[in-house]
């Protein structure tokens, strides 16, 4: 599933700089707000759904080779976090929907691997 389809179906807002979303693919996703759980639970190249919007999510995503993070419930990362994400090439996406809601949508789109 490419990120363009996910982006369009979930009406996400792009926070980081423009990228070719059709070139970013996901077979698996992981949802948690606890960084330590993400560290052990998320597969490399997964899509990560979280409510956390601080700079540490970029460090974790970079370490785990997670290409994109959906930040839920309108949580807003600060400018520093966005710049760091741009530097690391990590896509930050925003939505007003909840973790539960986003995960449900992704499941319906056919992303069922964790």
């Amino acid at each position: 599933m490419d990120l363009q389809i996910i982006f369009d179906s979930l009406n996400l807002i792009l926070l980081t700089e423009e990228r070719d979303f059709s070139q970013i693919h996901f077979d698996s996703a992981y949802m948690s707000d606890l960084l330590s759980c993400v560290m052990t639970g998320a597969k490399p190249h997964s899509l990560w759904i979280t409510l956390i919007a601080n700079i540490n999510i970029v460090a974790v995503a970079s370490l785990l080779e997670i290409p994109a993070i959906i930040i839920t419930e309108n949580a807003q990362p600060n400018q520093e976090t966005i710049e760091r994400a741009n530097m690391e090439g990590i896509v930050l996406l925003s939505t007003s929907a909840s973790n539960y809601n986003v995960s449900g949508h992704l499941w319906e789109l056919g992303i069922k691997d964790q």
């Binding site: 960084l35 759980c37 560290m39 052990t40 540490n56 970079s62 785990l64 080779e65 530097m87």
Partner: protein
Amino acid sequence: MSNQGLLSDSSAARITRVEELAYELTIGEVMTRDPLTLKINMSMRDALDLMGKYKISGAPVARDGKLIGILSMEDLIRSLRDGRIDRKITEYMSGAVITVREHDQLVEALKLFVKSKVGRLPVVDENDNLVGILTKGDISNGLLNALQRDYEAEELIRYRASHLFEDIVSDRTSLILRYTIKKDDFLHGGAASNRIKKALLRLGASSQIARKCGIAVYEAEMNLIIHTNNGGFLRVEVEENKIIMEAYDDGPGIPDIDKAMTPGWSTASSEVRNKGFGAGMGLVNINNCVDEMVIKSSKERGTNLFMTMYLDKASKQK
């Protein structure tokens, strides 16, 4: 965290690199040298034959090495439509040609392509002699080749680094990396672990080993940031067959290590928990990632965490 090496983690960094390359490369480096050139006495039919034979959609017209015009497929179509395919190319070519110079930066040509919608740009030297032709295809190829050279340079660094232990002979060779971690420095949290992971990859560790070490050392790094009095140090010693990662701090010490090892048990403040930490899984994660983990802790001397990863699983001691 910063991209200090040639290797970039992501395609985004690649895009930035392409932008950089547009400034680093000159037009001369990517153009097609000595292109097919049409002579002024040729007919449109001659041009059609030549362009068909070489499968090109346009060519410069030159006299005595000097550029005097350019003939494109559109010009050929116009002459065919007019039924005047036997006329001279000078009647149909464009005379007012936009040119670029060999020693100019590639970005100058990119700007012209965007602005002028031409398909090709003749390249001239200081004396206006035609030296080459530049198409968008030449630019793509030039950029791809330059990226390939970058990649090969990184491969070379990796190759050299990964042969360190073969090239340098001693009874016991090791490489030591040291990082100072500041208390409460959430802004740089993960920077040291990312560098350690990259270093291990360069030294030839598998991506799985580098990832596991990265996770273990990240948890240790965040512990230094969150739980210590004054921050601490990370020390990574890489040997041919094992990686020893150590975290040191000078307090306050862990009062009950068994409790600290219990999944879900945490002393993190609510402020820290709001940042996504304090799951009570840090030491548990470390223990799951590395082959050996030892904690020594006291109120007086602080906490020392030793993590060992064996690269040759036959020598695993556990």
